[in-house]
């Protein structure tokens, strides 16, 4: 594994202590052949720097954008990504699964 969860969560703590706004995005549910299992996570800071993955690359861009909103609003959000619509090749999972991602602010 490239980024073990401990590194990701440690980065969240380090960024927070350096005064960054930080959000944590976690896969909470998957249907079909989702690329990462429930519990996989991604941390994002207010520079847009991120570490970890929730889908192996398919939807990280959209999650980062939503996470920046969550950092500024402080309100957690549930995101859902699937392949069942015309946006499949835009923001979706090419493998055919569906995932729900919970995005929350740290701190």
């Amino acid at each position: 594994m490239l980024n073990r969860d401990e590194d990701i969560l440690q980065a969240a703590e380090t960024w927070q202590s350096q005064g960054h706004g930080v959000a944590l995005a976690t896969v909470v549910e998957t249907w079909g052949s989702a690329p990462r299992p429930a519990g996989s996570s991604l941390v994002i800071n207010d520079d847009g720097t991120f570490l970890g993955s929730v889908s192996g690359g398919c939807v990280e861009g959209a999650v980062v954008t939503e996470a920046l909103d969550v950092i500024s609003s402080g309100q957690s959000k549930m995101l859902e990504f699937g392949v069942a619509d015309e946006t499949a090749w835009n923001v979706g999972l090419s493998c055919g699964g569906t995932i729900r991602v919970f995005v929350e602010k740290v701190g």
Binding site: E6, L9, E13, V28, E29, A38, F102, E104, V106
Partner: protein, 233 residues
């Protein structure tokens, strides 16, 4: 996630103690449950099941949808004896995501040529084992057939409460081992924890097949609930 929760989570993970974060995904409410506190928790049945499987997932409780995020330490496998079985066991265990270390003071056995890419410690158990931080999330296998090496290693495994302890040898060999370990101060309850003869009884013959039977037994010990575990043993 509150900073305090994140700090606790990182501290527990650094100490290789399992922990579960329970999140109400409707409102973001969150709490952290340490492994030692599961028995007293209202969600103990769900928490212990998810932890045993090492899997995060959703449960419904009192009309609330909760996400249980399980953080279990990576399991380790310590193999005492750089023997033929270990050459098959080490790569098999790594493919199952175990952190594997092989210990054998006999340098002719513990050679990198025989164990490419596997961490090897060519020292006696009293020197080799303390730095390995053997803990509950460790499977411990003694396969040298040499009491001078296996016996002190097994005492260390008892002391560290490994979730699986196995030792190579027939029932007769194991009975003698029990006598020796008792003489060294081991309790009957400790000796009873040793899986011997080692591995599930699948009629294994070759070193690779014995390795499969050992990993199958370790997997059962890690994943099955206590009652079914007894039936498999």
């Amino acid at each position: 996630m509150k900073l305090e929760t994140l700090k606790q989570l990182n501290a527990e993970r650094a100490a290789r103690r399992p922990v579960i974060v329970v999140t109400d995904t409707a409102n973001g409410e969150q709490r952290l449950v340490k492994a030692n506190d599961i028995a007293a928790d209202p969600l103990r049945a769900e928490l212990s099941k998810q932890l045993r499987m090492g899997k995060s997932g959703n449960v419904e409780a009192a009309g609330r949808k909760l996400f249980l995020n399980v953080y279990a330490p990576t399991a380790k496998l310590v193999i005492i004896g750089a023997v033929h079985i270990s050459q098959a066991l080490a790569p098999l265990a790594r493919s199952l995501d175990y952190d594997v270390t092989v210990v054998d003071p006999r340098t002719a056995f513990a050679s990198p040529e025989r164990f490419p890419d596997v961490p090897l410690v060519a020292e006696w158990p009293d020197v080799a084992l303390p730095p390995l931080n053997v803990d509950h999330y460790t499977a411990f296998v003694a396969v040298t057939h040499d009491p001078k090496i296996d016996d002190p290693a097994l005492l260390h495994a008892f002391d560290r409460d490994c979730f699986y302890i196995g030792a190579l040898g027939s029932r007769k060999t194991h009975a003698k081992r029990g006598e020796r370990l008792r003489a060294l101060g081991a309790k009957d309850s400790d000796i009873a924890r040793i899986h011997a003869p080692i591995g599930l009884d699948i009629g294994a013959v070759s070193p690779s097949e014995i390795a499969v039977s050992i990993m199958a037994e370790i997997t059962a010990q890690l994943r099955l609930p206590p009652k079914e575990k007894e039936e498999a043993a």
